[in-house]
Amino acid sequence: MTAHQKMDKADSRNRLDDMVQGLVGSPMDRPDGPLKVSGRATYAHEWDVPDMLYGVLVRATISKGRVTDVASSYLIGKNGVRAVITDDRLLRRPAQGGADEAPPQGSKQVDYFGQPIALVVADSFEQARHGANILAVSYEAEGNAAFDPEAADTETDQPEDDQLDQGDLDQAMTDAAFTVDQVYRTPGHNSAAMEPHCAIASWDGDKLTLRGSYQMLNFNINELADALHIVPDNIRMLSPYVGGGFGSKLGISPEAVSAAIAAKEIGQPVCVALSRPQVFETTMRRSETRQHVRLACGEDGVLTGIGHECLVSNLPGESFYEPVTQATHFMYGGKHRKLGIEVARINRTCGGSVRAPGEAVGMQVLENAMDELAEAAGIDPVELRRRNVPDRHPEQDIPYSSRRFIEALDEGAIIFEWDKRNKMPGSLREGDWLIGHGMAGAARVNILSEAKAKVTLLADGSAVVETDMTDIGTGTYAILTQIAGEMLGLPADKIETKLGDSDLPSGPGSGGSWGAASTGSAVFLACEDIRKAIAKKLGIDEADLRLAEGKAGRGDTAQPITEVLDGTPISAIGHIEPGQTLEEMQQATYGSYFAEVAVNAVTGETRVKRMLGVFGAGRILNEKTATSQCYGGMIWGIGSALTEELVFDNRDGHIVNHDLAEYHIPVNLDVPQIEVVLLEERDEWASPIQAKGIGELGICGAAAAVTNAIYNATGIRIRDYPATLDKLLADLPGG
């Protein structure tokens, strides 16, 4: 049985609300929790594979040019070294999310400092690492590399379909009662997932099994097959547990292909794990951005124009660019609009998706500019945003699906006691600390992707959910278990959810916040089909079927589901496809952030004292895991605001701070006990389960709440992120 639904129209049946098991939405503990807290969950490096060898990648120490010689002969056969792989199929760059084909290959050509150019394979990790360290490589460097995205002679291009010039923004700026016209900069970021990328490749004849850490297996097997010049049917990828992704594991990376080539060549399984510096250098970075924002409004604060023109960077030939203006297109009104992206082509580590590409840095800056406009116009920042919520999409003239932005603003303001704040910048002091409050809006586009999942109701009254979907910490094991349990009337411990196996029915994986709504809908559809089969057996309408606690029936009459099944399991595949509702309605998630900071008047150190996020993301499938996702996003926002910055040396483009000692992600003491409020919402245009994505919403503007609070505390505008001490010291009040 296959149950198919294409989202060509709203699904307002809200079927999940008719169910009575009480699982969906509840703060259920993760079923994978006991394994994870006891060290029994098997991550990529941790499979017991007999006769496994270890491979360590060698990095380029030039930024552009060619490898002319790899002196491997003196290494091989000594000290445990088995092979030095310099195969033309080695990846030069990681695959972009959803690439579905091999990224640039051939590591004799060097595009950036740190690029993998060879793999040393040995009996032990220590032997391979030593071999990689001493391998002598000769290069022919090219002198025409570009490193600085803002240098006058750096080549740039403009993606054609991301330029908008509507009305006359220049005139709107001239005619406006109040304006903002500022340039902001955000630095590069790294996902820095705690688990470094890793792959174990083993071959059985022509069949490859790759145990790795990847977010989108459905695409990853095609990328791997294309890179290896084999057919996808000969590959099985396993990623049941992924130690964080945040975009960095959307596509395959050099470890996957090098492990597979080495294992085939040597005839033994090979494990390749990236070192932490290699994670920084050879996987994805978020591009730095330069954002020129112009806002124009009348006396009433209503926007007449928005300009958001951005410079980002990537390697030559990469089609991905940080889509900085993604939410600016629909967030606020204003007839006159000029939005654009320019991409500088430079020889730095590949630019790609890092949690919430686009909004993470775009909303951050737009919400800073809105704060500046609120001050210029003398209007409360919450009220200014309320006044600029458009009725229809200001560019495409289409309606919005469910949008709880104003509720998020209002509820946040009440909970945070926004009206009690000190409004005069730099005037509230407690001892050595300057206290300030700030807020910002949140928005992130919503995406539904094609997904399939199989659900089997077994004769013993338990059920199995199967899909190649991944759980990268997002809570997939929990929410798919909850949806199946809710629909089939089974407690969670009667459901087994199997994930992260490319042999299972395929979905879009984890990324872009689409996983839960997409694969969740596929599970829902499969269960709906099973419900119909049960109803048929009972001779009743599915609408009247009541399934709860392992019993089936209508009204008060119920019998054990095992009796209804009578020894015969029921299986169905659910299949969801996006449709017209994505084109006809502007779909997004919304929210608000409120922050209180203390800035040390002597040192310039900023501490976040309080932070609140209020979010509307459609139906919440698990209150606990959804809240955790929001914590994560908001804390990433604290990192973006205060500490996170990839530092590049513009002499050769290398990343100066390529590890966790120098690239400063927030630590426990950097973070207060954050408060998250999830608004009740059903978005019938988004999915048959009325859910939207929530994994990225928490970061989309969060940093702005912090820096707007810093302004309120000190009177200093941060337009060059992050807000490190040096940027505050000189102008601190009373300093």
């Binding site: 990268i472 426990n668 954050i674």
Partner: protein, 169 residues
């Protein structure tokens, strides 16, 4: 090759390994105890935290051959599904993790940290060198700041530890 006797979770292992093998890689690659995680291999993230002779250390920063005869406790020794330790259960109940990769290190660290606090050790945020009377949220956060969590489950990690410590918020 070095021969080292390690007592891990109460069981003695005779390790024959290269002298360059870290305690972390000895546990993971030689003894099959993969609960201890490698996040950075540089002592920067805390994912590899284990308890050696009662004290929490980064197992990536020490060589296995330096621990001949030492008592080592890893996450596997603290509890297992169906018989979790109080901290392990609290991490599940409070969602003190997301991807789960830093989690064994967090829990080993917290296990030893509670003992440090009980013994009156002060921290950077303690008011005096006698140590705090009770573990405030700030004390917990400071004492756990050597364990990075990129999923940023910090508020829930603090909740879980506070619950077990019985400390006042």
């Amino acid at each position: 090759m070095e021969t080292t006797e390690l007592s891990v979770n109460g069981k003695t292992h005779k390790l024959e390994a290269d002298s360059r093998v870290t305690l972390l890689d000895a546990l993971r690659n030689h003894l099959g105890l993969t609960g201890t995680k490698k996040g950075c291999d540089h002592g920067q993230c805390g994912a590899c935290t284990v308890i050696v002779e009662g004290r929490r250390i980064n197992s990536c920063l020490t060589l296995a051959c330096m621990h001949d005869g030492d008592e080592i406790t890893t996450i596997e020794g603290l509890g297992e599904p169906g018989n979790l330790s109080a901290l392990q259960s609290a991490f599940v109940a409070h969602d003190g993790f997301q991807c789960g990769y830093c989690t064994p290190g967090q829990i080993c660290s917290a296990t030893a940290m509670l003992e440090e606090a009980k013994a009156g050790w002060p921290s950077f945020v303690s008011d005096d060198l006698e140590g705090p009377d009770a573990l405030s949220d700030e004390e917990i956060s400071e004492r756990m700041s050597g364990n990075l969590c990129r999923c940023a489950a910090y508020p829930n990690i603090v909740d879980a530890i506070r619950k077990v410590a019985g400390a006042k918020s």
